[in-house]
């Protein structure tokens, strides 16, 4: 698309006119400010690409002389903020507060609470002048996987250099927020001190992954363990336990260890751990193994792919 056309300006437009035209399109069509306007999105995309070209006098001159075309200016794949802004784990929005509710999925209490404005906020006290609560300050913290699963403590360094001790409650999940009462901004008058709101991001673990209260591991096993079955040691978040591999196990088979997952806050019963088996061939295939299978397959061939025929 012709960049001048995309911005709705003439080829002789001044830099100021171009900026003004772009500004208007941002205002009316930027997808993050005008959610739900599908046509606007396309208009903004074309205008942004056009502006990226025309705002640079050198590039504009080269384009006018026909040395470059308008291609190559497109922004990389649309990665708009609105794709994240409405998510519950958006750390820039209140989000899910870990400490406020026992029932974390209680949308209604959240919604009603914000409706009624539970917090005092600013206002004139009848006689005693102006009071205002301190501002809540947001922080974001990456927490080691194990601390999130089992609880722990860590510290964050504030922009002013002071250090804040943070208790990580057991079972906290990605995107949840810890409220540290009184660690936020200073109040005015008799308002109360603001809080620090620390939104947690759980770091990945090299062995475990997590879905809610369920822990998942992929457990490598040998060919002989898969064929013959047997007891093997498997890591859990609270130390290794023995797991019985059934005879004739396959890769992808999932075994369940009850009560070895995460205990959410306020509950004693733990989630489960799922163990996905993965058969691993020996590092080298010796003659003995090869000749055994040569002989074996003569009489015992089987077809694990027969269900795939289309």
């Amino acid at each position: 698309m012709d960049p001048y056309e995309a911005l709705g300006v003439s080829k002789t437009a001044s830099a100021a006119e171009i900026k003004k035209a772009y500004r208007k399109i941002v205002k009316e069509s930027h997808p993050d400010i005008n959610p739900g306007d599908k046509a606007g999105e396309a208009r903004f995309k074309a205008a942004a690409a056009a502006y990226d070209l025309l705002k640079d006098p050198e590039k504009r001159a080269r384009f006018d002389r026909g040395e470059i075309d308008a291609s190559g200016q497109e922004r990389p794949e649309a990665n708009y903020y609105r794709n994240y802004a409405g998510a519950r784990d958006n750390p820039y929005r209140g989000g899910q507060r870990f400490d406020d509710y026992e029932d974390l999925s209680d949308f209604f209490s959240d919604f009603m609470r914000s409706q009624r404005g539970a917090r005092g906020g600013a206002g004139h006290d009848h006689m005693h002048g102006f009071h205002s609560d301190g501002e809540d300050l947001r922080y974001r913290l990456e927490v080691p996987f194990m601390d999130a699963a089992l609880g722990g403590t860590t510290r964050i360094t504030l922009p002013d250099g002071s250090v804040l001790q943070v208790q990580i409650p057991r079972g906290i999940a990605d995107g949840q927020t810890i409220r540290l009462k009184g660690k936020g901004g200073a109040p005015v008058g008799k308002g109360r001190q603001g809080d620090a709101l620390v939104t947690v991001s759980v770091a990945p673990h090299k062995v475990f992954s997590r879905e809610g209260d369920t822990i998942r591991v992929v457990l490598p096993i040998t060919i002989d363990e898969a064929i013959l079955g047997g007891k093997v040691e498997v890591p859990t978040i609270s130390g290794p336990v023995n797991l019985t591999i059934p005879k004739g196990a396959s890769s992808g088979q999932v075994l369940r260890l009850r009560g070895r997952g995460i205990a959410p806050r306020g509950r004693e019963d733990r989630g489960d751990q799922l163990v996905e088996l993965k058969i691993v061939a020996p590092p080298s295939v010796d003659d003995e193994l090869a000749s055994f299978f040569e002989a074996w397959k003569q009489k015992h061939s089987y077809d694990p792919r027969k269900g795939m025929k289309t």
Binding site: K19, Y22, R23, V26, H30, D32, I33, P35, G36, A48, D52, R75, P76, N79, Y80, Y81, R82, N83, Y84, A85, G86, A87, R88, N90, P91, Y92, R93, G94, F107, F111, L137, R138, Y139, R140, L141, E142, P144, T154, R155, I156, T157, P159, D174, S201, V202, A203, P204, S209
Partner: protein
């Protein structure tokens, strides 16, 4: 889990962002880096790429001061938050059988009509 960007990586990822601008946005708390005691420096997430892109777009087109930009982004957050909540409510409503849904819709319509 989440993709993590270092300062250098996020500057490379967002068109129009340079170190000075990033420092300015961090200082104004327009983006809050992820504190990660286990890593050598502050890091950012996928959401920050999109948020910084929006901040750059707005900053560049309107010459906004930091406070104005912060205010605008807070409103954008609220807008999207309310939209997400409204979507959840509408979804829940749509899942109801007709005879339960209808009276609620009528009530909403009446309230909105004033």
């Amino acid at each position: 889990m989440t993709t993590i960007y270092t300062e250098e990586q996020i500057i490379a990822e967002v068109p129009g962002l340079d170190r000075a601008l990033l420092m300015r946005f961090v200082k104004a708390r327009i983006v809050v880096p992820l504190e990660a005691p286990a890593r050598p420096g502050p890091v950012f997430g996928q959401i920050d790429v999109a948020r910084l892109q929006l901040a750059c777009d707005l900053c560049e087109s309107f010459d906004l001061e930091d406070d104005a930009l912060d205010l605008l982004l807070r409103l954008v957050d609220q807008l999207h938050g309310v939209r997400a909540e409204l979507h959840a409510l509408v979804d829940a409503l749509e899942a109801l059988p007709e005879e339960q849904r209808k009276p609620i819709e009528d009530r909403i319509r009446r309230r909105l009509a004033g």
